[in-house]
């Protein structure tokens, strides 16, 4: 065997052994994790999310190559501890988060969903923003005083949150919403 062939065989064997050993523990070393990406928070309550807020978040995320962070704000009743499981609210939130994630992913936008508890919607939002950095917040103002974030909450967002806050004014088109209906039956 000539030295050249011996070197070639040796290199091939080393490559094979190296290729075998490197992933041998089964841990995926090359999983691509978003690093330093811009984040667009889309907080919501109830059983649907405003279609306009969703579309706006998707458009911006595409332009900025950002990740959208849909966050379901769950209110914990006073008689429950703050870290109590909330299966009833999860029944509404989970299919909705699934719908949002499926739609956004299908549109080529990466998603990082959250479900956050608090005594009030504002409290939940504050807890989220205390632990997570976001670059933008997109919320849809509601004409109903009983649902979603109140005008006080929106004012608080504008004053206290160190991010760009985009509040979409109420619109006749607001009846168009993203709901969990899209995944009902097969989620």
């Amino acid at each position: 065997m000539t030295p050249t062939i011996a070197i070639a065989v040796g290199a091939l064997a080393a490559g094979l052994v190296g290729g075998w050993l490197l992933p041998s523990n089964g841990h995926n070393r090359d999983k691509k994790l978003p690093h330093g990406t811009r984040r667009i928070l889309v907080p919501f309550t109830g059983t649907s999310i405003s279609r306009r807020a969703f579309d706006a978040a998707i458009r911006l995320a595409r332009v900025e190559d950002a990740t959208i962070m849909p966050a379901y704000l769950a209110r914990v009743p006073r008689h429950l501890p703050l870290d109590a499981p909330l299966p009833v609210q999860c029944h509404s939130a989970m299919p909705l988060l699934e719908t949002i994630e499926q739609r956004a992913t299908a549109l080529g936008v990466s998603v990082d969903t959250r479900i956050i508890r608090g005594r009030t919607y504002r409290d939940a939002l504050r807890r989220l923003l205390d632990t997570e950095h976001v670059d933008r917040v997109i919320v849809s103002a509601t004409s109903s005083a009983r649902t979603g974030l109140s005008s006080d909450d929106l004012e608080w967002l504008l004053e206290k949150v160190p991010a760009e806050v985009m509040i979409l004014r109420p619109d006749p088109e607001d009846h168009r919403a993203v709901t969990a209906g899209a995944v009902a039956g097969h989620f």
């Binding site: 523990n25 990740t67 009743p77 909330l86 299966p87 699934e98 997570e132």
Partner: protein, 388 residues
């Protein structure tokens, strides 16, 4: 793992013990479904069949139909207890034991006794009756079970102060569900058959809303189904010596799901799907990340792990982080320890190079965990991608 020998006493306890009374519990979704009424009907039937029946304790709540049905059944008078200047009435346990009937009717087993009596809770009084060989019929609403207390509180906005361990239901020989549609219960309520007229409006606007009742009914139906399943498994397990040896593996009562997740945003989808399956099966959910040993998570992994932890907590699932060099072996060990019956995992990325020669993870798990279902969760956002 619990050795078979150590599990024996627990299993044997479920067998009818010689000399112990027969225990039947009537379970309902809410007040007014007819638990007490059914208990009294059964009492009359037994009395007519020639058995010695007494009412140990009846809570009629002033309902005329219930009071009328109680007539004709012998009653052991309640005993008066004075506590801090207040007069309280409770079952007279010593008197019932002394009377030694064949069958005692004891309403509302979650009740807390007046301080100073033999036991703190009424279900403990019932244990004494059963130990004395007295058969017992009793009643309870599903929201009094400890494991369901948080769930029911969230559903109804009402937190039950009087609770009892789920094991009490497990010790009953029979659990009979008294079912009534929410609409029928509301009709009874409006007709004044559940509460007095002055309480009806408050009840309709509070606890007795149709969505509450529907959810509680589902919880009650599921609870009884689980009890039946648990008893079936135990009966099968205590049958023969071989059966007991087979019980050396943790016998799952019902289902237990193990979802395999990694700390990256897409993992939440898998956890959501696993939770939904767990809800449908009435199963516990564990979420497991097998972390590479000796390596700290990156900041992005830390963030994703925090989100997973938050999600698991709000769903009532357990997040486990287990270091392990061999993922399949670690998963198999955890699945055996926790008695998992299902494993859910996401689709692996295509293997490259020589990694193609390795056994794929689903197959590796099936080889290591015979009898455990392995489910690969699809990414539905991509379901139309390959459609021509």
């Amino acid at each position: 793992m619990v050795p078979a020998a150590d599990r024996m006493p627990e299993l044997v306890r479920e067998r009818p013990q010689p000399g112990r009374g027969h225990y039947t519990i009537f379970l309902g979704m809410a007040a007014g479904v007819g638990k007490t009424y059914r208990m009294l009907q059964e009492g009359h039937a037994e009395l007519e069949a020639g058995r010695d029946v007494v009412i140990g304790l009846l809570e009629s709540h002033g309902r005329a139909e219930t009071q009328a049905l109680a007539e004709g059944l012998p009653t052991v008078p309640q005993r008066r207890v004075e506590y801090r200047g207040t007069e309280l009435w409770d079952m007279d346990l010593p008197a019932v034991l002394k009377r030694a009937p064949e069958l005692a009717l004891v309403d509302e087993l979650a009740h807390t006794n007046a301080p100073g009596l033999e036991h703190e809770k009424r279900y403990e009084d019932i244990e004494d009756l059963l130990d004395a060989g007295i058969d017992v019929l009793s009643t309870v609403n599903v929201q009094h079970l400890e494991s369901l207390n948080d769930q029911v509180a969230e559903l109804s906005g009402v937190r039950m102060r009087e609770t009892l361990p789920d094991s009490v239901l497990g010790r009953a020989d029979e659990v009979v569900l008294i079912d009534l549609s929410p609409e029928a219960l509301l009709t009874r309520l409006r007709a004044g058959k559940v509460y007095k007229p002055e309480r009806i409006d408050a009840a309709l606007n509070g606890f007795f809303r149709i969505e509450n009742l529907s959810a509680l009914r589902e919880v009650a139906l599921r609870q009884v189904a689980e009890e039946v399943e648990a008893k079936r498994l135990v009966t099968e397990t205590v049958g023969t010596r071989d059966d007991v040896l087979a019980a050396d593996t943790p016998q799952a009562v019902g289902e237990r799901l193990l979802a395999l997740a990694e700390p990256y945003p897409g993992a939440q989808r898998l956890v959501r799907r696993a939770w939904r399956s767990a809800q449908r099966l009435g199963a516990q959910l564990d979420v497991l990340w097998v972390s590479p040993p000796g390596r700290d998570p990156t900041p992005e992994q830390e963030r994703a792990l925090g989100a997973l932890r938050q999600l698991a907590s709000v769903l009532g699932a357990n997040l486990l982080v287990e270091p392990g060099d061999d993922i399949a072996d670690t998963i198999a060990r955890i699945a055996r320890d926790r008695g998992s019956t299902y494993i859910l995992l996401g689709r692996s990325r295509p293997a490259r190079g020589l990694a193609r020669l390795r056994t794929p993870m689903p197959q590796a798990l099936m080889e290591r965990l015979p009898g455990v279902d392995v489910r690969i969760v699809a990414d539905r956002s991509k379901k139309h991608e390959k459609t021509p």
